[in-house]
């Protein structure tokens, strides 16, 4: 049976067992595959994961390379309300990993078995560092005290986000038995909550305010930094959309109607949390009409749901802020159908 080849090198003989290697390929699975710390990425089973990794690394950016000269000149001249938005945004951004319970991603990495998936997850560690570099660059260049920002971000609207995530996430760890349906669902639930509901929706009122200010010529460098950060988030959203779908196709027992309803319901809850934030912020002073911003969040939630093959809940015909779609790298399903062939190259120069 075994297809073995003996390779003789001088006095040494090495036996290659092709069947064994091919079995290793067949054992690649999102969860419950061959469990190894080895990084034998090839032969690829999940091509999309390596393609995504390549897109991510081609979009490598260093926060310190974003020019903040204009922002430095403007910061002392900004009105109180806009300054408050910026400082609140920095404070919220600094604690967003706790707010979103993002450390749960490491548990998912531990449970995922295919090496190419571990590779693309590995970008997350780098992106966490980018976030830290962003804070050093912005606080240092604009001479803003991070502790003052943390106080501004100590408001109930942020606390309730963290509470929501913490209360809904399933307590999984590296020892969780992922052969049981309820535990597979726990992994899928956490992926969906952390990524789609938290990182994909929360604080977008703040990011939108920053982009709105930048569109008015205020703090354009800061706008650019957040544009790139949301670019990283967009890659992660794409990673987790595809991971979820791959998990579901390998484990169809996950995807029950009840489970789909449960996830959809979380997204509706996530939208309400963000509306709470909108009412706590002077977004109108940044040039955003609060009602339209609420509609935008609903529109965004529908896009997140659709990407995960879950039913839309809000059914808005069009984006209330098409200019914002560009800033947050939102390619709607309709637009994607038209321009999917250009997606790869669009990151080459304009984004870097």
């Amino acid at each position: 049976m075994a297809d073995t080849v003996d390779i003789v090198l001088g006095e040494r003989t090495f036996t290659l067992d092709r069947n064994k290697a091919e079995e290793a390929y067949a054992a690649k699975k999102v969860i419950n595959g061959r469990n190894s710390m080895f990084f034998n990425i090839l032969p690829l089973k999940y091509n999309w994961a390596y393609e995504l990794y390549k897109e991510m690394k081609n979009s490598h950016w260093e926060p310190a390379e974003v020019d903040l000269k204009v922002d430095i000149a403007q910061i002392g001249l900004l009105d109180e309300s806009c300054l408050k938005i910026i400082k609140t945004a920095l404070g919220a951004f600094a604690k967003s990993q706790e707010m979103f319970q993002s450390h749960g991603i490491y548990t998912v990495r531990d449970l995922v078995t295919a090496p190419e998936l571990k590779l693309v997850f590995g970008r997350f560690v780098h992106e966490e560092n980018t976030r830290s570099d962003v804070l050093v660059h912005l606080h240092g260049s604009l001479t803003i005290n991070p502790m003052e920002c943390a106080e501004l971000a100590a408001i109930p609207a942020f606390a309730s986000k963290q509470q929501f995530a913490a209360s809904k996430l399933s307590p999984i760890d590296r020892n969780t038995d992922t052969t049981k349906t309820e535990n597979k669902q726990a992994v899928a639930r956490n992926i969906f909550l952390i990524n789609q509901c938290m990182e994909g929706i929360q604080c977008f009122a703040l990011w939108a305010s920053i982009f709105s200010l930048a569109a008015q010529g205020k703090l354009p460098g800061t706008g650019k930094v957040f544009n790139k950060l949301i670019g990283d988030i967009t890659f992660r959203l794409s990673l987790f959309d595809q991971l979820l779908q791959e998990m579901v196709s390998e484990n169809p027992d996950i995807w029950t109607d009840n489970f789909k309803d449960e996830l959809t319901h979380y997204m509706v809850g996530a939208v309400n949390l963000e509306k709470e934030l909108i009412s706590a912020l002077p977004v109108a002073d940044a040039g955003l009409e609060p009602d339209a911003l609420e509609t935008y969040i609903e529109f965004l939630a529908d896009e997140r749901l659709a990407a995960c093959k879950l039913p839309r809940q809000f059914h808005h015909a069009a984006s209330p802020f098409p200019w914002l779609d560009d800033q947050i790298h939102l390619v709607t399903k309709q637009a994607a159908a038209v321009s999917s062939s250009t997606l790869n190259t669009s990151f080459d120069d304009d984004d870097l």
Binding site: L9, F14, R18, A24, M37, F39, L42, V125, H126
Partner: protein, 358 residues
């Protein structure tokens, strides 16, 4: 109060800054919510991080045309091709093991933001190294099964793998880090991964591939391994500093018995590496001999031990391969990454890093 980071000054409230500093410990530190990087407690960590970030490289920046031409030509022997396949096969596994240990053992146990930062960077570099191997396989059109299968069932390779994997797995549990034996277990893991594995056991195959490079064979692959080696020297230094810091903060772990235990662990690592070289590496094909190669392993192992404040195993060993030390001295004119600083940035705070590298 102000904190200085990357030539920036960041304003801070003194009282809160003191509270942040008080939370920073290697073992038993507290999680700091929000932006807790400033003020720095472990300046060395941020400094090494800045170096690592400045040395960022991506495999595709390095041309592989010459390697592909050579691979297909008669000027390369089968044994030389075999060495490349071995390098790819071994490091595909090894880089994964190291990255996994960084993410799931070290990063889980440290909490000071500057430590999280630098160890996440460490894990990220393992990703880059693994990706460089993918690039080599795809450029040369190799059968990846073959590179992996080379080591299937080779006992001395299995022993090298078990040595690190068993240790890493044993730390993946809830550990009461107030207990001295658990502190020592973490310190041993840091020593094994930094000094024994990345610091010593990577060097057998590094030596083989770089001696081909020295003969102008596989310049692209050699260049990537030089960059990898430069990254490794940061990792070795980083883990050495971490071990040092744990020892300073927890002097009770540094007993004579524990020091002897670490020396014996290195003794085991060098034994495994020498067996591996004897069984698997066709050293004469690259113009080297096995005695020199074993001496080289003793030489670097002693260096690792003495820089950690431990007695050498052999003592007074000469470096038989001084050329290998030059291989990681990457000159600025080789900067083919536009706009990136690739020259190794020596820093006074890391005064002995260049000395310790090889």
């Amino acid at each position: 109060m102000i904190a200085t980071l990357d030539k920036h000054t960041i304003p801070l409230n003194s009282e809160k800054a003191d509270a942040i500093l008080a939370k920073k410990k290697v073992i038993g530190g507290e999680h700091i919510p929000g932006f807790g990087l400033a003020p720095l407690k472990y300046e060395w960590a941020y400094e090494i991080y800045s170096n690592m970030r400045a040395n960022h490289w991506e495999p595709e920046d390095i041309p592989m045309q010459k390697d592909v031409e050579q691979w297909r030509s008669d000027e390369i022997s089968d044994v030389e091709r075999w060495i490349i396949k071995m390098g790819i096969g071994y490091f595909s596994a090894a880089e994964g093991i190291v990255g996994d240990n960084m993410i799931h053992v070290i990063c889980e146990l440290v909490s000071a933001p500057e430590l999280e930062l630098v160890f996440r960077r460490h894990a990220h570099e393992e990703n880059i190294h693994a990706d460089s191997l993918v690039y080599m396989v795809s450029s040369l059109g190799l059968n990846p099964h073959e590179c992996e299968a080379i080591f299937e069932g080779v006992r001395t390779v299995q022993e090298k793998t078990d040595f690190v994997v068993t240790n890493s797995r044993s730390l993946r549990r809830d550990m009461d880090m107030s207990l001295i034996e658990n502190k020592q277990a973490l310190a041993r893991n840091i020593f094994i991964f930094g000094q024994c594995m990345e610091g010593t056991q990577f060097y057998g195959l590094f030596g083989m591939i770089l001696s081909l490079y020295r003969q102008n064979k596989f310049p692209g692959i050699g260049q990537m391994f030089r960059y990898t080696l430069r990254d490794e020297s940061n990792h070795i230094e980083l883990l050495r500093n971490l071990l040092n810091e744990i020892r300073n903060e927890n002097p009770e772990i540094w007993t004579d018995e524990f020091k002897e235990d670490l020396r014996n662990t290195m003794g085991e690592a060098t034994k495994l590496e020498k067996n591996f070289i004897r069984d698997c590496l066709p050293v004469s094909a690259v113009g080297l001999n096995i005695e020199d190669f074993h001496q080289y392993i003793d030489f670097i192992a002693d260096r690792r031990l003495t820089t950690c404040g431990l007695e050498p195993l052999v003592g007074d060993v000469k470096n038989p391969f001084p050329w290998l030390a030059e291989m990681i001295d990457i000159k600025k004119e080789q900067n083919f990454f536009e706009g990136r600083v690739t020259e190794y940035q020596k820093s006074t705070a890391l005064g002995n890093i260049d000395d310790d590298d090889l």
